[in-house]
């Protein structure tokens, strides 16, 4: 499992980002059951209480639903997942632009660089 934690940041947040990734990529499909708290804790090497907290936070944000006695499930509401994907993308792009501005690139230059990069990647794939 490709998950190493940055010990400088709260672990429950990092675990949440990891699960959001899986949900947005539909590695975890809408309505699919998440692993049990203990299962995931052992798998990623954290305290079960941390996993509980992660699940609780995700439930608060309506990304997952917990059903009493059955476990925790990804929401079946696809718009919620689309919103989530949009929000993460928005945040990351914001960070990216800020970083590029910090090294002195103007917005048009960033766009140009992005297009070049995308084109060369496409070539590599072909």
């Amino acid at each position: 499992m490709g998950l190493t934690f940055d010990n400088n940041r709260p672990i429950y947040l990092q675990l949440m980002e990891y699960l959001y990734g899986q949900i947005c990529r539909t590695d975890l499909k809408p309505g699919e059951k998440l692993p049990s708290v203990r299962e995931l804790a052992v798998k990623v090497g954290v305290n079960p209480n941390t996993v509980s907290r992660t699940y609780m936070e995700m439930e608060r944000k309506d990304i997952v639903v917990s059903k009493r006695g059955q476990g925790t499930f990804v929401t079946e509401d696809i718009t919620v997942i689309q919103e989530l994907r949009k929000k993460i993308a928005d945040d990351k792009i914001g960070d990216f632009i800020l970083m590029m501005n910090q090294i002195g690139l103007k917005n048009e230059e960033i766009l140009q660089l992005m297009e070049q990069k995308m084109a060369s990647r496409k070539e590599e794939e072909e």
Binding site: N7, N8, R38, V42, G45, N47, P48, N49, T50
Partner: protein
Amino acid sequence: MNEPEIYLKNVTKKYLRQPALENISFQLKGSGVYGVLGENGSGKTTLLKLIAGLLRPSSGTVKVMHRPVSRLSSKDIAYLSDADSLYSFQSAQQLIHFWEKVAPDFSKDKAFSMIRELNLDVNMKIKNLSKGNRARLKLVIALSRQVPVLVMDEPLSGLDPLVREDILKLIVMNADVEQQLLILSTHEVSEVEAFLDHVIFMKDGKCILEENAEVLREQKGQSLVATMREVLA
């Protein structure tokens, strides 16, 4: 099981005239994993022994589950010693049957299922087990007790990194951290980092900082190791 609780008020412990702990007060309430972190000689073992009722404080009060700690407290507390605490002439099977008789809360089924998972030979004499397997067996005994408070003194010391990882997994899988309060001491802070709910930093017999691990990471934006360097320096 009631909600676990450990309460210390103005606790001082001296060995002859040498103070080991000075005026410690804190209250741990609720289940979870609590780490006692500090250098050698900072008072970790003394603190854990006081909580387990194996030492008496020179002054102050120690309460576990709302009652002053005495030898009778062992019905609420499982204690994992740093020292080699097993009878070398017993086999794992004999050890488990022994514990079943000694501790009424001991779950034989849980013990045997853990032993099976670990692939330990139940008939082998303990003296013939490797150090890592003796450590695992000790832990199996402690984790098989259905008590509100688990006290573990250096469960990782003297073991190689792979065994340490294995032991941590064994703890996570089998300790009931939603019900039990597990307090453990260690100096392998980076390895237990992700497993702790709560930390207690000790230095020169004093408790310098007692805080939730995620809160510390959130507030300081740094790892527990970095925080430890900062507060213990």
